[in-house]
Structures are given as structure tokens and as C-alpha cells.
Amino acid sequence: MNPFLGLFESARAATFLAQQGPVARFIFGRDPQEATYSAGVEGLFMFIFWISTFVFIGLMAISFYWAVKYRRRPGVAPQRSPSHNTALEITWTIIPSIIFISLFFVGFRVYAKQVIAPSDAVRLDLIGYRWGWNLYYPGGVTSTETLPAGTLSASSVPVFMFPEDTPILLEMSSQDVIHSFWVPDFRSKMDLFPNRSTSFWFRTSTLQPGDMDNPDLGYPNKEHILYCAEYCGDQHSQMLGLIRVVPRDVYENFLRNPWPEGISLVEKGKLLHSLRGCNACHSLDGSSGTGPTWLNWYGYEHSYTDGSTHLADADFTRESIYYPGRKIRSGYQNVMNSYLGQINEEEMRALIAFMRSISDQGGDPTAGFPDEEEEETGGN
């Protein structure tokens, strides 16, 4: 195919050998995802690592030996020695150059695998925002599960399910600032931009019966932590996610019935509060964050930066979520993004029901959607 083919093959063999062993496990921790490129990346790293270690130890050993052997002794003159040697200098220019060139080619070869997804990949949309991720499954289904607060030292970590043994292609974009999608187990990452779409692909592994990263689940599963790797503000370190590889039937079941069995509207709203990243700015315990707290928000009058006051009823809540820039609460900044097109009607209902449930003026949150009635309550 090309003159570098032999080089590739020998490099591939070398990287395969290099990635085996306790040193690689010490450096990388978890095993690489058994996708097409993860092991390749790790192997290439270990290949570079072993070359580097060899060179480094060699250089340091020589330096140390000479430094001690030729240490200064009072009154003793240094020996004569050459101050250059063309052949030697050319040698140590050429050999590293060859190594560097081959590293580039092997690196590019693996890179091509990292950026170019197979044609039959399952394509999903991923949106990053401060500070969370929204993954859109077919038909607009999104994640409905978060890890308990405090897991992974983060306040909420959404769980994204993927079917086993499937290539997944994520079409990614950002809502606000630059983020970066990094799953260390996959050994790859890609930035998300607010004005262009980028893509990231990986192949989920084939689950073995022993794969029980989360033993509480009744089925085999593998979990990988997802990090935002591009600095994006205060809670950059909270912008985690959990990628859970599940058997196909579990995945299919999830797509069919995304919400847990028998979940109430209020509970759904509470889940959405963390799933959609509301919790990054809006607390539930009365403390003020980037945005106002939701505790006792609904049904009360609040003042706004334009001098007006407004009752927080269902319509106003809807407007505040879809067009957050229209009215800014006094003491806060206009930093919220519009959720127009991201929160559908049912989810909006759930959120409003949840807000009502944590407000003294909320009335009975389970009592349908009676806006007129609410206004009366608020007016009192």
C-alpha cells in the first residue's frame, strides 16, 4: 500500500506489546475500552513511554556517571577532550528524527480512527452547556437518571445509557462556551463549540456476565466517567457524566419507557432540575447561586431589574425558562440560556409542578394545571 506499511505493522506489534503489563495499568488505571482505537492510543502512548524511559535513563545514567567520575579535585587539571564530533552529532540528529517521523505517522494513523466513525454508527446528538450534558436519543428521549448527589464529588451526574457492542457517533455542539467531551476510558476527547458541530465516536464493549460496574443493577453493565475537559466556569469540575453500557434489551426498554415506573409529576420535575442542569444555578434550599433559588419562588411576587414586580405563576415560569432575558431578577445577571426547544411541554409541566411543591404558595401541585386558579391564589 505504501512504503510505511512495514513500519506501521512493526509499530503496531510494538504498541501491542507495550500496552500489556503492570506499568501500563499503573499509568492509565482502568483498562482501555475495547473499542477500535482506545487500545491503540494506549499502546502508542506506552510505545513512546518506553522509548522515552530508555532514552531518559540512559542520558541520566551517563550524566551521573560522568559528573561523579569527573568531579572537581582541587589542583587537578581537567583532561583534554574533544569539543565536537561531526559523526556523533549527525547520528544523534538522524536517529531521533527517524523516531519522530514514525511517531507522527503512527499517531496520525490512530488519529484517523479516532475522528472518522464507521458508517454504521448510531448517531446521537449531544449538547453541552454550563454545567451539564444533554444527550438526545431517537425521538427526543433524554437521560432520566442521575447519580445520588455527592457521587464522584459532584452534585449531580447524569447517566447516559448506550447499547453494548455498538459504534456510537455523537454529533456535538455547545450552548454557551467551549466544552470538551472526554471519556478517559475511551482515551480520546473532542471539543464542543457553540458555533460549529464536532463529532466523537466510540464503540461500546461487548458485555460479559462478570461486567458489573454497578452491582445494584440487575444486569451486566460497564460504566465510564465522562468529564468536561475545557474550562467552562465555576462548576467546570461538576460537569461530569456517567456512560453506562447496558445490554440491548435494557437500552430498548429505556427508549420505550424512559421514565421510571410510576413516577409522579413532582418527582419528575425534581429529576429534571438536576438532569437539565437547573441545579447548577438554582438551589432548592433558599441559598442564592448564579440564579435565584426555587424555594418559595412559585406563587410569590418578585422584583425585576427593570423596576417592575411580577407574580411567578405558571405562564411567567414558562416565559422565564423559554425567554430568560426578558425579565431579570434584581440582584442577578442575564446569564441564563433559553431552553426553547429543549424542554417539551410535558417536562415543563413537571418542572412547574415541582416548583409548586416546594413553595408555600404553590397549592396542590398534583392538581392538574389550573392557571386561573393559581393566579387567584397568588393575588391573595
Binding site: G140, T166, L169, E252
Partner: protein, 258 residues
Amino acid sequence: MADQQHQGPAGSPTSEKEKLGFDPHDPHGFHEGEEHGHHILSMRMLVVILALLLALTGLTVGSAQAEIIIAEELGISIPQWVNVTIAMTIATVKAILVVAFFMQLYYDTKLNTMILLFCLLTFGLFIGFTSIDMGNRDRIYSWKDGQHTPGGTGGLGLERGAFDSDRNPRRTTVTGPDGEDTGRTRRASEEVAGAITDYSADPDVARTRIDADVLERLERYQERRRAQRPAASPNRVTDLSSPRLFAPPDDEDGDGNN
């Protein structure tokens, strides 16, 4: 006394040079045989250069106007690169005239010319590499785009050997509705898509429904991609519908218009 000093060394430079082995006023022979920096341009030369510059200005304006006239009157549209090339060539010639004669670079030390060339080289690197990146982000797009389908349909895209990780896809036997063997196999990811397609028939899960007709969906998706993609840079998505964060003071609704 002062003048004498300003004029530099007294005594014979040659003899000093011979004695020391180098010229003490020019230790590294930098200015050897060079008389520079004190060239006096003739008035005639200056006027000629100015006249040339003004003529070139007229020419570049004229050519741009002529192009508009040709385009409007005769209906011949001249390709853009002609316009750009003419204008930039004339500008370059003008700049060279100014630099070489008004700024006297032509009569100056070579070092100053080198400095200018390095500056232009750096400029070239900057604009060159930036343009390479910003203008060619779609180069491998044909590999990356076009064949993937929402939700994953598999097999519909072109098979690509070199970069396809899935050279030996795990294929499973496709079973019919009642579990009978249909004699077909399909790729791993097809199964998921198939499963989803099945749900679309279920009225209870209408929200998760995706169109059964995969081909139609593929077409629509690709159409959307094409529409989203401006001619010059296909993978940029500029969403102007989102309200701007910073509106002018008199811009109430934040949509950029008063």
C-alpha cells in the same frame, strides 16, 4: 573638536585594521564596502515615484469601477479572483515603491531588508496556516458525514474500507416476528435501529417514535445538513435566532434591532 569626533576615528583605519587584524569600527566586517544610510534622493526621483503612485491609485480605482460597469452594462460577470488579483497586485507594487524609495530601503543596509522579509514571512505563516485550518475544516467531511443516520440504521452508507473500523462486523441472524429464521444477517447496530423502528408502531410510546421509513429519514437529514451548511464552511452552524446577550442600551427586546 566636536566635529572631528563625530566624523569618527582619526588616523588611518587601514593601518589600524592591519595592526589588529580587524576594523575596530566595524569589528565583524558588517559594513565592509558598504555606503548606506546617507543616500540623498534626487527631487526628480521623488516626484517620479509620487506620480507613479498616484497613477497606480487611479488605475486600481478605475479597474474596480470598470469591472462594475462591465458587469452592469454588458452583463458579463468577471470572476472574483480577477478583481482581487488586480487590486492586490497594484497595492503590492505601490507598497514596494513606497518602501524601496520613500523609505529608502533600496539604499539601506541589507539587514533592514532582511528584517522586513522576516516580518512578511511571519505574516505569511500566520495568515497561511490560519486559512488552511479555517478554510479546510470540511476536507474530510465526506468521510465523516452523509452516511450516518439518526438513531443508527447501518448498512445504508457507502462501505469504506480504509477508515472503517468495522471491517469484520459482528453479524447476527435476523429472526422474524415469530422467531423463525429469515435467512438474513444484519450488523450489530442495525438491531438497535430495528428495535426502535418496531416501537414506532406502538401508540403508547408516540414520543419515542421515529419514522419507520428509514430512507425518507435519511434524505431529510441530509437535506437538513445541506441547508445548514454554508457554501464555504460546511460544518459551521450559526444560530442567529438565539437572543443576543449584549443588546445596545436602546434595544429592548434584545434581538439586535431597535
